[in-house]
Symmetry: C2
Subunit: 190 residues, 2 copies
């Protein structure tokens, strides 16, 4: 068991019967929430990945609820994420692809639906007619605004004080690191 731990994860401080905590880190991340961690917990690769999966699921389901509340029937959470990814800039499909690490055909598919729904404008670029320029329509912007508005409450709950903010930012940057490492790994191996 110890060997397994040493291999897969990395320990912070000397461990006192800390193995089980490693198996269920959910338990270790108790109320103290806001403060920096001050104890031995092992966060492995997979624990993080599982956490990310769960959080992602929760958020998607929240988005779905929000969309339903808004009475939007023709946009699912995945498409909403595309709209949010576009934001208030005009970009090409390729850029959008990078923004979400989507697969090309996937974005094409969503864009079609969103264009049909009137949420997005797609125009061929002047300089390069292969490249499509994408941007939100009034309707698309409105939907995003509504979603952002609904999301405001969460921001207020999640970012109460400076400590929260710091942690959110660290989380963001750490995830970005995962994104890079896992992304490069996918391309070039390890």
């Amino acid at each position: 068991m110890i060997q397994k731990l040493l291999h897969e994860g990395v320990e912070v401080e000397t461990s006192i019967d800390g193995y089980d905590a490693a198996d269920f880190p959910e338990i270790s991340a108790e109320k103290q929430g806001h403060r920096h961690p001050v104890h031995r917990v092992v966060v492995t690769h997979f624990e993080l990945a599982r956490m990310i999966e769960r959080v992602n699921r929760r958020f998607a389901s929240l988005l779905r609820t929000e969309l339903t509340k808004l009475g939007v029937e023709d946009v699912g959470p995945a498409q909403a994420m595309v709209l949010l990814a576009i934001g208030d800039v005009e970009l090409s499909v390729g850029e959008l692809l990078d923004r979400g690490h989507y697969i090309g055909s996937n974005i094409s598919y969503y864009l079609k639906q969103l264009v049909d729904g009137g949420y997005i404008d797609r125009v061929a670029s002047q300089r390069d007619k292969r490249s499509a320029r994408i941007r939100l329509t009034e309707k698309g912007e409105q939907l995003c605004a509504n979603l952002r508005n609904a999301g405001g409450a969460y921001n207020r709950v999640l970012a109460r004080d400076d400590d929260d903010l710091r942690n959110l930012e660290i989380a963001f940057q750490t995830l970005h690191r995962l994104e890079l490492v896992w992304g490069n790994a996918a391309r070039y191996g390890i």
Copy 2:
């Protein structure tokens, strides 16, 4: 624009043309990676959600690759996550459900495939015959072990020093917080 920011996100320190950074926080999270953030960046709800979605996608794709390398044809990344969620304990379907915030029928579906594939043992509990007890078979454990083994390399890259570890842990706990907030919101509203 400022109003929008103040409403949706929260700012760290006084902002100097920091608005754009809020729109593209990817850019702000530069190389410094290991150190704590020391600058004004706004991390909103949605930015984090988008990041989580991207990272999740990357990880799934990595898992798929790994499974292919291992020659495992009958287990997709989603099922692999279920196996990893089970780990080395025996639990009920309900517990497993909680572990991943799955929907019941979803897990049932995966379990069926995994039982058929010989990765999981499902036995009705003695004390409560409605409840199924789940655990990995030899084969299932072997697959998890192989995956964990392959994952070791990432842990070593991601957790080089104490700083990395701290950040990983903060990320984990922050995500856990998101999990709770978003989860409660789904149940009870805001």
